[in-house]
Symmetry: C2
Subunit: 269 residues, 2 copies
């Protein structure tokens, strides 16, 4: 364990195909453990079971995760020369919290960039931006932002003071506290660490529970800040997608994320 994130998502093997973790307080959003923390815990168990790094990992969120003990049952479906595919269920007692399916492999196989048809956006120096902090445990921003170092892009930061930018985009820089390195498991936290882009619009939507999230990890980032660029294009038929691109400080694409979330109907008032 090299830091608070590694400790919060640490797993111990407790059975032939079962790993256990203990989620400490403070990694939640209003009582529900952050989806990226659940993804990271399951990813660690699946990494241990496959002996390989996450390349593409999909999670379906079945029920809110709670602080406290959790177990992950992993089932390796196929192991080949290049990849190992496994599925898992993260549960708390008899309650299935998250179901996962992923393919694991070698992240250092081929470092060539053949096409990059989208360039990293211009960004102010994150050291000059204010750190996002939660004033208390049950407010907004959620308490778990105190466990990481998030610097929201100045054009997107107004919504925290009630001035949304008016377009479904949310961008921030992220690093772990105390220079804890971000490996492939840390990327699983990073892909689900920002508020939804629709919070930056005037839509009357203040809660968008994730149905499914898929992370593609291309490479382990070089040390330094991650830049996370997320956007939503379609809010329709009661659902929305969030697309995320993560760059490392060497301007390399290191991960992509897409999630599908539910758009609760505004309650009649």
């Amino acid at each position: 364990m090299t830091g608070a994130f590694a400790a919060a998502t640490h797993v111990e093997r407790v059975g032939e195909s079962t790993w256990a973790a203990e989620i400490p307080p403070g990694w939640d959003v209003l009582g529900a453990v952050d989806g990226g923390v659940l993804l990271a815990i399951a990813g660690r168990a699946m990494r241990a079971a496959t002996g390989r790094e996450p390349v593409t990992l999909t999670a379906h969120y079945l029920a809110p995760g709670r602080t406290g003990p959790v177990e992950v049952d992993v089932d390796v479906l196929r192991s080949g020369r290049t990849f190992t595919t496994a599925r898992a269920v993260l549960r708390q007692g008899d309650r299935a919290v998250t179901a996962l399916l992923g393919t694991f492999g070698d992240l250092a196989e081929d470092a060539d960039v053949l096409i990059q048809a989208h360039e990293p956006p211009a960004w102010p120096d994150p050291e000059t931006l204010p750190r996002l902090t939660a004033p208390n445990d049950d407010g907004f921003p959620p308490a778990f932002v105190n466990r990481i170092d998030v610097r929201v892009h100045p054009e997107d930061a107004g919504f925290y003071e009630g001035r949304p930018a008016g377009r479904p985009v949310m961008r921030a820089c992220l690093r772990l506290l105390d220079d804890e390195p971000i490996d492939a498991i840390g990327m699983l936290l990073a892909v689900d660490s920002l508020p939804p882009p629709t919070f930056n619009t005037h839509l009357p939507v203040n809660w968008t529970p994730t149905i499914e999230l898929t992370a593609h990890v291309r490479a382990v980032p070089v040390p330094g800040w991650l830049r996370i660029d997320t956007a939503t294009r379609f809010v329709s038929h009661g659902r929305l997608e969030v697309d995320g691109v993560i760059w490392d400080s060497a301007d390399r694409l290191v991960a992509q994320m897409r999630q599908l979330a539910l758009v609760p109907r505004p309650s009649a008032s």
Copy 2:
């Protein structure tokens, strides 16, 4: 069964949690069954097991599918008020071909479009475009295009004659033969029916096996042509993503797709 696609992907329940299908000849790409056909077969079994329509379905392709008998084992993980989550393995004999995880629900829940930040692209009348056909069973285009009606966008059609457009985009209109309707299961075929966008570039890549594909179905399309718009932004570290957006003939977003594919290293020559 209302047509050739429904017949090719028809499933029969053969056990408590097992469905069987028989893939007829002609739905393959050089001997490997098209990934959208495998997704549709598994989707039908999972739809039968959950009693609901596919909302988000992820497939990991473990081994090539072959013409002939196939079985799908479905495991329902959780059924709630709004959604049912299930996982499945599609196999041929003892060989796992495709592993799946999906959430199923009601596609007609809420027809409001709240944000559409990306408009359907301008498109010529598909009736005026030539139908893509395969001259023989083991050439290019692959034989399975004869089973559907695909009209490639004129700006992207040159690559079939060795003149790629030079950018990683591939667009086409699609319908099933004999006016067979496209329901949510038909959409699972549609999301994986075009050649990869990188075929439209000058990259020396002529084979990009899919590792993982996720389809989000927003709505059942109205009758008529689907427009499918796919693009790749990042070819790096030995992998590429393909993003797809599908519009129906009423200009509604009906599905999104993202897949991760392997970029084989060009052989030294």
